[in-house]
């Protein structure tokens, strides 16, 4: 890869959306108005082309090369290690992420051109919307392209800002404003750990650029954790004595660093316990939900963990935490999604659940599969959200499944695309989600039976709630909300949907995991190392238990193809979908019977385990209380103490004020007397 070409492409990817956003911001209201989408589409379009060029360059270089380009010096302070550059790092992972992000975003922006119109007229805030979208794409690209942790943090925060602006797009709706604030704040809580992690990296290693940091960590953790001083010194370009210290520091702290970084990932990628912002984030317009849930924002955490593989794999304990958080979140969110009535909310919980899969994949050292799932998920989740948006558009802004149904005939194309997306999400055999999810479950089984089982159960739940959503929306009795003239959406909406639908089917056949193997190598290495070996007989057992093919499967297992598992999960998905069909099309009375049997469980799920309420009572209110306490201390304690101090002169003054008669001669007498006394003293003492 030529550095110049990489630099040129990176600058294009970053600048074009940013310029587009700036252009809309400056000219949107006075000049562009209804044409405000054009700069965004053109800017992001150029970004897509440049991303593909980068992908091509990485492919041409065999995927193993890394280009590191310094664009300019950002700021400097003190020693050379504290000179922070604006730099980009491009490798296979970056290329895949860039293509995913820009491509899906472009489709979303094109879709928004019609979506943000009412009766053909641009809706209020049309310009603002596209400016923010373009800014969002810029932020995400900056995050992906960043060549050091500080720029990563920059992109990280900018993405949070854009989500804030876009979720709160309908700012006059209190719910939207609250959701926006919640998103930003919960992200900030994650960023708290993330920022501390970055500072700890700097404190330990003295650098923040990826290459040095990863090089040093890798060297320090080489030789089964005993480290290689020479390699550390070489990575840091210092003498051996310094390197010894740095190495020890890394060995001592790498787990804490990884955990702190993971805090950021939890916040950004909406995992337990910081997932609460994501379901609310669907208060924004549907394209925004598509953007946040599919291509940008939430994938950042997964990307970051994959990028920092060296740091994460250095500590098996942290990897276990990652895997557990992922698995539990996947299951947990899926159960909530079972009971929701709001189409977008179901999708939102499914996103949380799918992200859980990705972290599960990362945690079981299958980073390639996790990124693969990220890639396929981007297509089908964007497709689903945009379809839901199309439905919502047609229903006059109503998205609650209780108010409409049987839209199959009214919106045939939307229905078809939505079904494709749902099948991909459910993991229906041969659709993209099937391949990527299956890989993760397979690796999970390799790591731990329970993790794998959670993966399978979640797959079943996913299939069921997806089926429930689809069948309720498009099958059954035809119902539309009163006073709404339901209609199929226009071309600007359907064409992006079509492209995404094609992606949702075909993305599973692109071997992303293999392509980014050079980048995810740390995971593979770590998996191969002593602290993560799965006894062969165990794998054999699984294979035998899971299906026909027995031992034959086991040999394939190591390569990520487990046909038995594939068959099993495919079967489970089909069964779950069938059950959904039974419950919501054939025998609509069934669900209410089930809820009647377990009313408490139903209520618990319906109220999302009361987590929002718990957070409010357990965190927000105590904090606010302590705020009032602080203010009270200010008003009464501190000022009271100061009043006490000032009371001394005040009391003195009160005592002495009697001497102030106001009569001039009185003062004169006092003065004369005093003078006389002084004179007498002087005379008598004989000075």
């Amino acid at each position: 890869m030529s550095e110049t070409a990489v630099a040129a492409c990176s600058i294009l990817i970053l600048l074009c959306p940013l310029l587009g956003a700036g252009l809309i911001g400056a000219l949107g209201r006075p000049v562009l108005r209804g044409r405000s989408h054009a700069p965004a589409i053109i800017g992001v379009g150029i970004g897509v082309i440049a991303s593909f060029v980068i992908l091509h360059m990485v492919r041409a270089a065999g995927g193993a090369e890394t280009a590191h380009v310094v664009l300019y010096q950002w700021f400097v302070t003190g020693a050379p290690s504290a000179w922070f550059n604006v730099e980009v790092l491009v490798d296979a992972l970056t290329a895949v992420m860039l293509v995913t992000v820009t491509f899906v975003s472009l489709l979303v922006i094109i879709y928004s051109r019609d979506y943000m119109r009412e009766h053909g007229q641009p809706a209020r805030g049309y310009e603002r919307f596209f400016a923010f979208l373009a800014l969002f794409v810029f932020s995400m690209c900056a995050l992906v392209l960043a060549g050091n942790f500080l720029l990563l943090y920059l992109g990280w925060e900018l993405v949070g800002l854009c989500s804030y602006l876009l979720i709160g797009f309908y700012y006059q709706r209190p719910a939207a404003a609250a959701a926006a604030k919640k998103a930003f704040l919960v992200n900030r809580i994650g960023d708290f750990g993330f920022g501390l992690g970055i500072l700890l990296i700097y404190l330990t290693i003295g650098h923040l650029d990826y290459e040095t940091v990863f090089g040093a960590v890798q060297a320090a953790m080489a030789n089964h954790g005993h480290g290689d001083v020479g390699a550390v010194a070489a990575a840091l370009n210092t003498d051996l004595a310094t390197a010894v210290g740095v190495m020890q520091g890394i060995q001592n702290r790498v787990a804490i660093i990884a955990l702190l970084l993971f805090c950021g990932a939890i916040g950004k990628s909406a995992q337990l316990p910081l997932y609460v912002w994501l379901p609310d984030a669907m208060e924004g317009p549907s394209p925004v939900s598509a953007l946040i849930h599919a291509a940008t924002m939430v994938t950042a955490g997964v990307y970051m963990v994959a990028r920092c593989g060296v740091i994460f794999t250095a500590s098996p304990a942290v990897m276990t935490v990652v895997a557990l958080v992922g698995a539990v979140t996947a299951l947990y969110a899926a159960t909530i999604a079972l009971t929701q009535h709001d189409m977008k909310r179901i999708l939102a919980y499914s996103t949380v659940s799918q992200l859980g899969y990705m972290f599960l994949g990362l945690g079981v050292y299958a980073a390639g599969s996790a990124i693969f799932h990220l890639f396929t998920h981007a297509f089908f989740k964007a497709l689903l959200f945009l379809s839901a948006g199309s439905v919502m558009h047609a229903m006059g802004g109503i998205i609650d499944l209780r108010h409409f149904g049987g839209l199959r005939r009214i919106m045939p194309w939307t229905c078809r695309f939505c079904v494709i997306g749902a099948l991909a999400l459910a993991g229906f055999p041969l659709f993209s989600g099937f391949w990527s999810k299956d890989e993760i479950i397979h690796h999970a089984f390799q790591s731990n039976v329970w993790l794998g089982l959670i993966g399978l159960v979640t797959a079943a739940l996913t299939a069921f709630y997806t089926g429930r959503m689809i069948f309720r929306a498009f099958w059954g009795l035809e119902r539309v909300p009163e006073g709404v003239h339901a209609h199929e959406s226009g071309r600007w909406i359907l064409v992006p949907l079509g492209v995404l639908a094609a992606g949702a089917v075909l993305a599973g056949y692109i071997h992303v995991g293999g392509f980014i193997e050079p980048v995810t190598e740390p995971f593979a290495l770590a998996a191969a190392q002593a602290h993560h070996t799965i006894p062969v007989h165990e794998t054999l057992l699984h294979a035998a238990a899971l299906g026909p093919g027995g031992a034959d499967v086991a040999t394939h297992a190591a390569e990520g193809h487990n046909y038995g598992l594939m068959a099993a999960s495919g079967l489970i998905v089909i069964l779950a979908l069938g059950l959904a069909y039974l419950a919501y099309v054939i025998w609509p009375g069934l669900p209410s019977m089930v809820t009647a049997i377990w009313p408490r469980a139903y209520r618990l799920l319906f109220h999302k385990y009361y987590v929002d309420e718990i957070y409010d009572a357990g965190v927000v209110q105590p904090l606010r209380g302590s705020g009032r306490l602080c203010f009270g201390i200010d008003e009464y304690v501190v000022d009271g103490l100061i009043w006490l101090v000032t009371a001394v002169p005040r009391a003195l003054a009160y005592a002495l004020r009697g001497l102030q008669s106001g009569a001039m001669q009185g003062y004169g007498v006092t003065m004369a007397t005093g003078l006389a006394i002084i004179v007498l003293v002087v005379l008598l003492s004989g000075w």
Partner: protein
């Protein structure tokens, strides 16, 4: 008795007279005149001391003081006129408002 000592005594007497006048009278103008008398006593002392020590500083200082006294007199009388216009009297009792 040397002339210098006599001067000092006269100065002291003037000062004492002025002080008594200042403390005993209620009329602002008379009080002001009393302070002037005290002032002249001090002046006389300065000149006498200069003479005793054989230096000119005392006389020079006395000249300065004369000028300052003139300025001060103008200012003070102006103030008294102002006060009289306000209350129609120049007795100090009328102005004893600054009590604690």
């Amino acid at each position: 008795m040397p002339a210098e000592s006599q001067l000092v005594i006269v100065g002291a007497a003037l000062f004492a007279l002025g002080l008594v006048g200042f403390l005993s009278r209620r009329n602002l103008i008379v009080m002001f005149l009393s302070t002037e008398v005290m002032f002249q006593g001090v002046l006389l002392n300065l000149v006498a001391m200069g003479q005793i020590h054989g230096r000119l500083d005392g006389q020079v200082f006395a000249l300065f003081l004369l000028v300052i006294a003139a300025v001060e007199a103008a200012l003070a009388l102006g103030l008294i006129v102002l006060l009289f216009r306000r209350r129609g009297t120049v007795a100090t009792d009328a102005w004893a408002t600054m009590q604690g």
